[in-house]
Symmetry: C2
Subunit: 306 residues, 2 copies
């Protein structure tokens, strides 16, 4: 199977569709790139573009997108609700097929070096590509946003970027380039409207209060259904799998005499994450994804093409 | 997504690899056909060939394989352990992608008509393509094997084939062409070596003794593991899904104070069958396979190709 990486750059422009069109045109001008999605938000004044491709193509497409954004977006006059620090605010790579996280990190570093050198933009590596534990957290990297970073660059040593100049690119701002795993947005509904129960369960399962290392969780009231929900982001599903979190929610809910009535996955989920749940619940032994009919078909088709 | 059908013809030749090579050469001479697998068994004197392709290509490939087999295999001198009635003994179509069962039945009927007319071979439609309830069962269609069918054709009205002459093709025999869903071979291991428990559970879950309509099951002793196994074929996993059978095995085992220690899938499984298990156990609501990242990638890549 061919190597495939996803890239989800966020651009600080959510009001001028023609600007995002231009950027997408640059990205998709690279051979082998498939555009998956693009969304704009006017109040956030931000756009999210999702594309996939082989690693070298994805790196080149990301570079062209960042270059175009630096030409068309001026951070000196940018306003919007969403925190931001650059024309290309963040640019994460996500391994999809036949890619390891270290391979993605190499890709991120190469892109960061190119952006720093050729476009004179300060670049911070974040999440799995971070060069220090603090910089794993985007919120730490972006603290103070464009204005704060502009004022501290070259003065506060901890602000020194991983690549590019140690001073702000006044027009393009600064950019965070990183690596993360595909995120699974997963919600569980409870047969109660008591928000305290949802909050208590969220607290029990989420990383920052002692729960699972790669689980973020909050309790929410869902008024139209007269119930509450535990809303989650699983940021590393191979290590904190859906089924383990789900079973723990059921156990914690039972503590309050409450049941989980249903769950939902928001947006996309890697097939692997569902297969892992099947393997767990069906107690499958020695199962290999090579046994999945569709995988076999894909492999056979590729072998014959060679 | 493109339409894709699988075809698994069984040929009455398991000792002369050059004959099967010739047949496979015919099959794969059709554009768009992917050979997935081929197996020969000398004591059965039988070969199983598995290929996939778009419907029209798969029909043409099956026809060419049946024609070549009728030239190279002589049923008048054929012996082997496996029941058989023709040079091409059976030829089932299996819907894989964007194909309905009725569409596969049309394909099977078209192939059967062509084989009957052009090759003068009596053809019986079986399983989901059968024209009467009795003929759904291959064992009924093939009763008496080559010799029995040869002697009764043209004399016993119930033997009249669906297509082709109402007399035996002495060299090529008769052929069954049909439609079935992908079969899931699934085994559950118990923490006992008491075969009676495995047999009792198999009886409880299998169709012919009152269990699930699309489940075949037997108990087996697994000496090297000092335990017993419930061995199953799920012949319609959308209607008799893995998880429902598995949960019933757990319940029945509990009746004897026994636990299911693990399970296994033998060979290939449609991804969908595993996704159904995940949906059940995770209590997912409103889940669509369009949410699977890999599906989205496939669809986007195809859209861009157009």
């Amino acid at each position: 199977m061919a190597q495939l990486v996803e890239c989800v750059p966020n651009f600080s422009e959510g009001r001028r569709p023609e600007v995002i069109s231009e950027i997408i045109k640059e990205i998709t001008s690279v051979d082998g790139i498939t555009l998956l999605d693009h969304e704009m938000d006017a109040s956030h004044n931000r756009a999210v573009v999702t594309f996939v491709g082989p690693p070298m193509a994805a790196k080149e497409a990301a570079f062209r997108g960042i270059r175009k954004a630096s030409e068309l977006i001026d951070m000196r006059t940018h306003t919007g609700e969403h925190p931001r620090m650059g024309a290309t605010d963040v640019c994460p790579f996500i391994p999809i097929a036949e890619m390891t996280v270290p391979e993605c990190i190499t890709l991120a570093r190469e892109l960061a070096a190119e952006v720093g050198e050729k476009l004179h933009i300060p670049v911070y590596l974040y999440e799995d590509a971070a060069t220090s534990p603090e910089r794993k957290d985007l919120a730490v990297v972006r603290k103070g946003e464009y204005e704060g970073i502009r004022d501290e660059l070259g003065k506060v040593p901890s602000r020194k970027p991983d690549f590019g100049p140690n001073e702000m690119n006044l027009k393009a701002g600064a950019t965070a380039i990183g690596v993360r795993l595909p995120l699974v947005a997963f919600n569980a509904y409870l047969n109660t409207n008591n928000i305290k129960v949802a909050n208590a369960i969220a607290k029990a399962i989420r990383s920052r209060s002692g729960g699972f290392a790669f689980c973020k969780a909050l309790g929410f009231e869902i008024k139209e259904r007269n119930c509450v929900q535990v809303s989650m982001n699983l940021v590393n599903y191979p290590k904190t799998p859906i089924h383990r979190v789900f079973e723990t929610i059921k156990l914690e809910a039972a503590r309050y005499g409450v049941n989980v009535t249903s769950s939902e996955i928001i947006g996309l989920v890697p097939n692997d994450a569902l297969v892992m749940a099947s393997e767990y619940y069906l107690r499958l032994e020695n199962f290999s994804t090579a046994q999945i009919l569709e995988e076999k078909l894909k492999k056979s088709a590729q072998t014959q093409k060679k």
